[in-house]
């Protein structure tokens, strides 16, 4: 089983969730109001009220087959708008 961590601007949240659904993931989890720093600069809490907003951190636990589909549905969005993603191993509890 795989664990995918996606971190990106919360403005793209709907797009990413749709892409996750399309990939057939069994579920996902969303944390908002996340700040941080990445290749595209810093996202600070002070900007939360502005049009740019903060980041969202989405976690997907899924099988290896879904991971492949996730890659093709989610990667273009991250590439176009920014955001990062990482994969790790996990097992069910």
């Amino acid at each position: 089983m795989k664990r995918v961590d996606l971190i990106f601007s919360e403005r793209e949240l709907d797009k990413i969730c749709t892409a996750i659904d399309k990939a057939g993931a069994p579920g996902y989890s969303v944390m908002r109001h996340v700040t941080g720093r990445g290749p595209n600069g810093e996202v600070s809490e002070g900007m939360d009220f502005s049009g740019l907003g903060a980041n969202a951190h989405v976690i997907v636990f899924c099988g290896a087959d879904v991971l492949a589909k996730l890659r093709s549905s989610v990667r273009p969005i991250l590439k176009y708008y920014g955001g990062v993603a990482f994969v790790a191993e996990a097992e069910s509890f």
């Binding site: 002070g46 009220f49 502005s50 049009g51 740019l52 590439k79």
Partner: protein, 330 residues
């Protein structure tokens, strides 16, 4: 007289709380207003300003200067980005130039509200239809911004297919600040017409609290604006100069139109402020979506870190001084 205007502005609670926020950052205090509290105040201010504008619009009706003024405001939100784009394009790529141009064609509701409060303190009247002008200046700027990108940089965009016109139009006309402002304006209008007791019962919320809530919000804006100052180095001297010169130039353009339209003192100041201010909510949100190639820290930092403080602190009283010189009090 001018210095007295400047002082009256500097020593008003909203501006003083703005300075307090700036000071907190400069001195390294850990004062912060955690999210989503600033959002509460910004939603409240939009709702209240829209509602009050609607009430007054119903009282004044749509005759007289209303339609000409609103049309002129929309024209300015189309013209300013075009002019600005030409200036910016001399130094920046098409994406950044278009995004910044759209930002400056649009408006800052909080600057407008602060100008209204300033007029209130001076006892100078203004009309509710100016809120309609405010509401209608965000969308055109967003659309022009995107058109500029399409025209000036068509072949360079790899993921451009992503962006559909329908989502751009939705972003332009239905983004949360335009939607809440226009919606509250219409509600204010309807309530004033059909439910006078509703007006009275809303007043303590939309009217009495307003000034204090604005002051509280400006405390946060001071913090945020000062945090942006650090980033300005990256923007460079050209953009810094742009962010400080654009407001007075656009304000003078606005003044010319106000004179042509024969606006009274209060409306003239608000018209100038609409032209002089730049967006940091609706337009950045739209630009992030439609022009992701542009660097957000450029358009946000100039608009929020320089243009906003400039207008709040120096601009509003300066514009008013000119207005008082050129337009007789009524």
């Amino acid at each position: 007289m001018d210095t007295s205007l400047v002082l009256q502005n500097l020593l008003s609670p909203p501006v003083l709380f703005f300075f307090l926020g700036v000071l907190a950052v400069l001195l390294g205090s850990d004062l912060d207003i955690p999210s989503p509290l600033p959002k509460l105040f910004s939603l409240y201010l939009l709702l209240a300003i829209g509602f009050k504008g609607g009430l007054e619009l119903q009282h004044s009706g749509l005759a007289g200067q209303v339609l000409p003024t609103i049309s002129a405001a929309v024209l300015m939100s189309l013209a300013v980005p075009l002019i600005t784009f030409l200036v910016l394009r001399t130094r920046l790529d098409a994406f950044n130039a278009a995004a910044i141009a759209a930002t400056y064609g649009s408006i800052s509701a909080v600057t407008f509200i602060t100008a209204q409060s300033f007029l209130g303190v001076l006892g100078v009247s203004f009309d509710g239809f100016m809120v309609a002008a405010l509401a209608l200046m965000e969308s055109p700027a967003i659309i022009i911004g995107l058109l500029l990108v399409k025209l000036a940089a068509p072949q360079e965009r790899p993921g451009g297919g992503e962006m559909s016109w329908s989502s751009v139009l939705r972003e332009a006309f239905l983004n949360s600040s335009v939607f809440l402002l226009v919606g509250s304006l219409v509600i204010g209008f309807l309530v004033a017409q059909y439910s006078p007791s509703g007006v009275t019962k809303m007043e303590p919320f939309t009217d009495k609290l307003f000034y204090g809530a604005l002051s509280f919000f400006l405390l946060d804006m001071g913090i945020v604006a000062a945090q942006r100052l650090a980033e300005l180095q990256k923007a460079g001297a050209f953009l810094i100069a742009f962010a400080l010169l654009c407001p007075p130039v656009n304000a003078l353009l606005g003044l010319g139109i106000a004179l042509l339209l024969g606006l009274a003192q209060g409306n003239a100041l608000l018209f100038m402020v609409l032209c002089a201010s730049a967006s940091y909510i609706a337009v950045p949100a739209a630009m992030r979506m439609t022009v992701p190639e542009a660097n957000p820290s450029l358009y946000i930092s100039t608009s929020l870190g320089l243009t906003f403080p400039f207008n709040i602190v120096v601009g509003i009283p300066a514009y008013m001084a000119i207005v008082q010189r050129l337009i007789p009090a009524t």
